[in-house]
Symmetry: C2
Subunit: 693 residues, 2 copies
Amino acid sequence: MSEKENGKQAAGYDAWLGTLEGTGKGTIEGAGAWFGTVIVNEQHEVIESARAEWCKAAEELYGIQPSVSQTAGEGASGLLLGTFGSSALLDEALGPDASSAVTGPEGFLIRADRERRRIAVGAKTPAGVLYGVFHLLRLLRTGAVPEELNAVENPVNGLRMINQWDNMDGSIERGYAGKSIFYENNRITENLDRIRDYARLLASTGINAIAINNVNVHRYETMLLTKEYLPDVAKIAAVFRAYAIKLFLSINYASPLEIGGLSTADPLDPNVRAWWKSTAADVYAAIPDFGGFLVKADSENRPGPFTYGRDHADGSNMLAEALQPYGGLVIWRCFVYNCKQDWRDRQTDRARAAYDHFMPLDGRFLDNVILQIKNGPMDFQVREPVSPLFGGLEATNQVIEFQITQEYTGQQRHLCYLVPQWKEVLDFDTYAKGEGSPVKRIVDGSMFGSRHSGFAAVSNIGDDTNWTGHLLAQANLYGFGRLAWNPELSAEEISREWIRQTFGAEEQVVRTVMGMLMDSWSIYESYTAPLGVGWMVNPDHHYGPNVDGYEYSKWGTYHFADCHGIGVDRTVATGTGYTAQYKGRNAEVYESPADCPDELLLFFHHVPYTHRLHSGKTVIQHIYNTHFEGVERADGLKEAWAGLAGSLPDELHGQVAERLAHQAVHAREWRDIINTYFYRKSGIADEQGRTIY
Amino acid sequence: MSEKENGKQAAGYDAWLGTLEGTGKGTIEGAGAWFGTVIVNEQHEVIESARAEWCKAAEELYGIQPSVSQTAGEGASGLLLGTFGSSALLDEALGPDASSAVTGPEGFLIRADRERRRIAVGAKTPAGVLYGVFHLLRLLRTGAVPEELNAVENPVNGLRMINQWDNMDGSIERGYAGKSIFYENNRITENLDRIRDYARLLASTGINAIAINNVNVHRYETMLLTKEYLPDVAKIAAVFRAYAIKLFLSINYASPLEIGGLSTADPLDPNVRAWWKSTAADVYAAIPDFGGFLVKADSENRPGPFTYGRDHADGSNMLAEALQPYGGLVIWRCFVYNCKQDWRDRQTDRARAAYDHFMPLDGRFLDNVILQIKNGPMDFQVREPVSPLFGGLEATNQVIEFQITQEYTGQQRHLCYLVPQWKEVLDFDTYAKGEGSPVKRIVDGSMFGSRHSGFAAVSNIGDDTNWTGHLLAQANLYGFGRLAWNPELSAEEISREWIRQTFGAEEQVVRTVMGMLMDSWSIYESYTAPLGVGWMVNPDHHYGPNVDGYEYSKWGTYHFADCHGIGVDRTVATGTGYTAQYKGRNAEVYESPADCPDELLLFFHHVPYTHRLHSGKTVIQHIYNTHFEGVERADGLKEAWAGLAGSLPDELHGQVAERLAHQAVHAREWRDIINTYFYRKSGIADEQGRTIY
């Protein structure tokens, strides 16, 4: 390993696929037998990736360079790798129940034979083999011994997708970890190594799709569909293909105008339809397994079918027809609302918008169209209710969209482990088919028998050496993939996996970091916007406190604080009627200020500062308490981490310590601005007489 | 005139030096005699500019191309032009009292002889001759007949300076009328014609100095002092020289480090002193009449002597010594304050800063150093008290700095004629030598016998065809020059002059536009930040309402509104003690909430919303009333202008109509945001029950 590579590793470049000092080598009895040989008799680039990953890890973990052979005798030791039926030895090693245990095309089976010191990984497809090997390595890196390696896994969700919000000028919209690894100077990068390492990271968590350009598609990005750029796109696709990840492009709905030379982009215009068909043919000629288009249309000033008096079904079905011959998908985002709202208008409610736009279209989309729905009705706030489209739509393919990049959750300068938030969303009961209809059963397609479904999320990576800026934010990228694979994993389990693969097995480290991660969302929430009301950030860049930052704006994001109280009345009785978009008990609970959960009270209700929460505190005292406590808890994160000095590589420890120190200072800014704002506005003093400016 | 030139003229390019349709030609009896000849027997570029200006005007106004001769017989008619003693004929025409009437080097005498149809313009210097000719043309363009042309004028202020905040990338800091006419792509422009026309406009109002680059001196601008750039700077200097305008450069205090190869910029370091002396020699070799340096040091993150433990006197005197051999000046800005204030800190008061920094240095500056002091203690707000440095400093050269560019007064999208504001400042009694010590007597140098003094202002022009974006904002550029020449001119007189030279003599036009101009400051004030408290604008770009925009920032600009009241307590009794920086009655008046003028109440005092103003209204009701009325008055501007359709060229009328329409809409945004903010905060309803959101 070169010095530079050493430096990269020390700086977090290898993420959860690195080798940890003090672990690995020589710790497993009979390692030479278990890891000395790889037996694989298929020629497939994805299986080759799996093989290479195994060999790399064997060397790093155990100092063994495995020999690779296509065949072996019955008693051979080592790793057997392949798809079912590819070799009799493999089939035998996996046992007779293999095919029935692996129910999905991407599932896998792992069987260890203690006597023979042999591990077999089998799957229906090469992708499954790759996932099996990554799973095997995850188990080994988290302390499993070879003889215990028996597992069968099938991914719960079909689509497990990453959205890059990368622009071709090298910037990343809402990116907080450097520049794009995909683009520079309006061209696709020639540095495919970094992209390959990203593909490895993603595949190791089970990701199987990626859209490589920002959903806001500007001039250069529009041209990715053209013959000038497609050869370069194809190079990226090839990198991901070797890791079983399909490549998608975000497209500009106005492409027929901007690059097609047409005078319209009307989805019902025959020339437009012909243009998209011809363009699809070009794309598939360059990339035969191209995934499809991701589309942000008629949203935040992006063009779309509304311009031509058409609706989202017209708009997306037209694209779907163009992609259908090739098995391509259209992923159509539901983030559609009036972004030119008059703040004086108390009737319009942005929270209602996605449901109001898309519910009437349920059942009208072709079966290769998927709606991509943000987890909440607003925009990735630290706390929102779940989008009522989940449970509303019954006859439409859906994926849920999360935001790994921490736009509103501290921008990777604050620690905010998001898996607990995502878990809450996934476990939320929609009452779509009565009690016991959680979101996760809708987005995995099982509730309504959807043809396509799954998870999508906005990536948090850039060209920072450690990928995510804040090293601990790697846990969010890792966690998203794992949760998309299996939403039943707990946030703790995922964090433990990540910590052990990143920092090793020392119990104090694992316990401390897990405690920090698990507390972090609640800490961030405690010193930012209270009780679900959201926003209160500086406009545009969205960093740091600004209580009225969006109060008199066109974005539909208000808190309506006055000297008496605060919150948005979204009830049917006296407000915008948003609560009626929920089903069953949810509609009743949210409608009632008495029943509404504290953490969402101000999202649904405008209440006096003296309103008493279920917690027993008044709203105003809750604001003061949480903000004072939040700062103490942020200090606690810093201190907890300081206690790990010496237990972690200095470089990694220092990186995180710096971010936590900033967080502690910045948390004070949040605390003081929010507390002062509400003290000035309400005139109500803190019961405990703490300093408010 | 080419079609293009016609178009430019129609779009306002000629400003107040154009010819108006329907005026001029043939309206003066005997024009052929009065204007047929110019007699001038001196060879001087400034006198040549005067002659050329006269000939151009004679042709445009009367259709006469004057013949130019060096001598003439005793009975000759036409214009005689020159410095005293340059010809016996001129001296005779001016009469025996000429030299004694013209007391200053830039003054002039105009004498008309009805019988001979002869006008004589004489002065001590070519500059005076130029000002005389421009004055003559102003009189003719505003309706004077030749036989009445008798005048003697001497400028009241020595330095009458314009500061360009132009950057070499072509941008203009706080510029609202296009890009720089001086620079593009980090080079000095080759289009000297536009600069020459700007010089004509400035000289016509009496401006005699200009600093051509932004006081924030960045990388490229720092290099203007180098031999690479000085030849181009010299070209600009030559253009201005022909109009008797001296060229200054804003300099970077860290130049010795950035371009001098030194390791310090310490003003007491011998190498630094030598470097500046050598640099001054280079500059004067290229531009022998170079004016000097304008310096923003230790202000808003600009470098300065503080870095080296030196003070502003050390810092400026060092530069002054370098320039002294050449008669150069150092103009040192007093805009120094802590721009990293903690908003929690209620003791630090930005308003105090300039006085606190500079008063202790009074008397320590060399006599070619001039302090440039902003009119108010904050930063060009729509309403501020006068800077207490005026009347404080007694032994220091001073110029007052105004801001023609409308950074905080509507950015040339709102109409705001600033001359009335400047008049108030100039007439403000400082009590420096007891009652009757107005600011204008300090900045003209007479009160303390200053060697150098005068006016400076930040320009409002860019490369927009009409120079100022908002056509009516030309009146501010014009008015500044006229007021610098003679602070006794009234705002009405100046506006009348400008209107007649710009739009002609039609009485309805003059009356309407004058009414609009004279009301405009008050209108803008009425719907923006109330009662002198200032700010309430969006951060950074400073456009549009944002009540808390600067409330929790580091800039020292707060209003401290809470549910009980608003304002900044700057009293000695209970506040920051700022009022003690004033002398005599001012200190008492400002200290007392009962005596403080309404319009400055919230600048000096924190009062309850129910505090009753001298007007009889409560503070809160005043806020509501003025904001409702402000919108009506903004509508009134629009309507008044609409009434002039047909009386003005369509192009000019349309330009202004568009701006006034925007203003009316944007005034509503101000009204509603401010009213809603204070209604929500105070809980006090409008007495008249008008709509507050």
